[in-house]
Symmetry: C2
Subunit: 331 residues, 2 copies
């Protein structure tokens, strides 16, 4: 589809029928090189390590994205990127994705094509060679996509949240706070007079071309840094999906340690509490040459009274709860 | 939860919050014996064969189930059973499931607990030892569950749809038409005066205790017969999800053959065209001692003018299209 064309036009999936839609999506998705791809009851994927890692994540119209703020390509990109990031956070190399998609019957076929283009763009950019090896197409009153991603540990021990030891260095790869700044910009400038998400307001306010909004729509997780961290001897690692503070709190509790942020490296505010950056947080033995884009943000201490401290003060481990915090709006 | 208690009561997921709900679900799900289970960014699953098979399927409130007709336990059972069946249809042994679930915020927590009980019951009955190794919990206006299942080929070659050869025997394991008879009963007797799905009508009409309705709610795929067929040398196999005729048509086209049903073994009607039984259709070299519950239903012929014939007459390969056929109702 021409990128300049509005995907919200043309024949709907209800008019086209499942087989036509499926054919038009599958040809746009990255195929990868599975031992067997779509078309049978299962795909067959190589697991040369004798183990594989697996993660699953669902994105739902309303709580997870708004069409007024994200294009179908953005949603496809994000669905792929966030799952690839979870694979990387185990120190594994992504080897494949399966994807289930349910769209309302009045959704234009071009929206699903554009979604598939976004998946392909993300995989090409972040995990070239990985493919969508299988899927399921359904219908729903609510646009919903569920992605499951696999990875190959490649002979390294999968890196868990629980392995950080006092004396380790705490390090981050990837940006902190940009996705949250982008979301805040959308909530401020991308709404109409009643506060509802608005495509027109997003464009007229300039939010549409704000690079932080771009990161909110299309996170760029440092996928290759996951396996690099595992090879470098990372003792613990996780994906920064809900924000540095809440995710670091998880690592601290799983490892039974306290994490101390360097005041200079981690400014208070959105860098600590903003979610959806999908960088990597890892701990390394002291003296490790930090691989790839990792930079020091603190140190691992013996377990104290708090999960996290910064400049001697405790840091609250707060974040997003989809059940408690979603306001029920879609847009 | 007491099985006699109505799950549609009590605190909602919106009131309880994600962490409480997650804890109450995870403890009810079958754990299996993964190398690493829930709690990290990924699970780790053994793949001793050096390959694994994988399938994914989404079940959506409305097109795929109605709460008036199925309990949360029924929906959990079916979500697990249908995916396990796809793994078996490759000749593989199920080794794990991941599950993403999105529920409206006003859904009682007991509904999700009951759903988890159904998953556990299905896995215990159909694939003991298999576990739910990871998942994702979200919120949506539409109750949606997405399951991805894996399996181990165990040294056998995964059985595809494309390997049937003229001269092979065509065989089925599992029942034909019962799930469709159950669904027809529900559409006839389980509705109110306006034709809407009704729990009260389902009970008062006796449909609730109809064994065919039970099969529609809780299919019993012959999981162990999948690997048994692979070991016995099955040349092609698939899961009977959409009905014998449409699924046999797929096998015929993928293999480039015509399939001839024995008139006595396959009566016309619901046995041919009813879906959701989740039995197995397979082809074996002539003379093979059919394993497990497999019984002969026909033979594989050189490719002729039709995909399927029965008593010399062509059999139409018709079935269910979720985009074209769903009427938009939920209930």
């Amino acid at each position: 589809m021409d990128a300049t064309q509005d995907p919200w036009t043309g024949p709907t999936v209800g008019e086209a029928g499942e087989l036509v839609v499926l054919d038009r999506i599958v040809r746009r998705l990255p195929a990868g090189t599975p031992e067997l791809g779509p078309g049978d009851d299962c795909a067959v994927v190589a697991a040369p390590d004798g183990r594989f890692v697996v993660t699953t994540d669902m994105m739902v119209h309303g709580p997870d994205f708004r069409w007024a703020w994200s294009s179908p390509e953005d949603v496809g990109w994000k669905a792929a990127a966030t799952n690839l990031s979870d694979v990387a956070a185990m120190g594994a190399v992504p080897t494949g994705l399966v994807m289930a998609l349910a769209a309302p019957q009045d959704t234009p076929v071009a929206v699903l094509e554009s979604f598939a283009d976004g998946v392909r763009a993300a995989v090409d950019a972040l995990a070239p060679g990985c493919g969508v090896v299988g899927g399921d197409l359904s219908t729903s009153a609510t646009f919903t996509v569920s992605v499951t991603a696999f990875g190959d540990p490649g002979g390294t021990t999968p890196v868990l949240r629980s392995g950080a030891r006092p004396g380790d260095v705490l390090a981050v790869s990837g940006e902190l706070g940009r996705a949250a700044r982008g979301l805040a910009r959308l909530f401020r400038d991308g709404v109409d007079a009643r506060g509802e998400p608005s495509r027109a307001a997003t464009v007229s306010s300039g939010a549409d071309s704000d690079p932080d909004v771009g990161r909110q729509r299309r996170p760029v997780p440092p996928i290759a840094d996951g396996p690099a961290a595992a090879r470098a001897g990372a003792t613990a690692m996780l994906d920064l999906s809900d924000g540095l503070a809440i995710d670091a709190g998880r690592l601290a509790r799983a490892s039974g340690v306290t994490l101390a942020f360097d005041v200079d490296a981690v400014p208070d505010g959105v860098a600590l509490h903003g979610g959806e950056d999908h960088g990597l947080l890892a701990t390394f033995p002291a003296g490790t040459a930090l691989p790839g884009g990792f930079r020091r943000v603190g140190a691992v201490l013996e377990r104290g009274a708090h999960d996290l401290v910064r400049g001697g003060a405790p840091v609250p481990t707060t974040g997003w709860d989809p059940y408690a915090d979603w306001d029920g709006a879609a847009g």
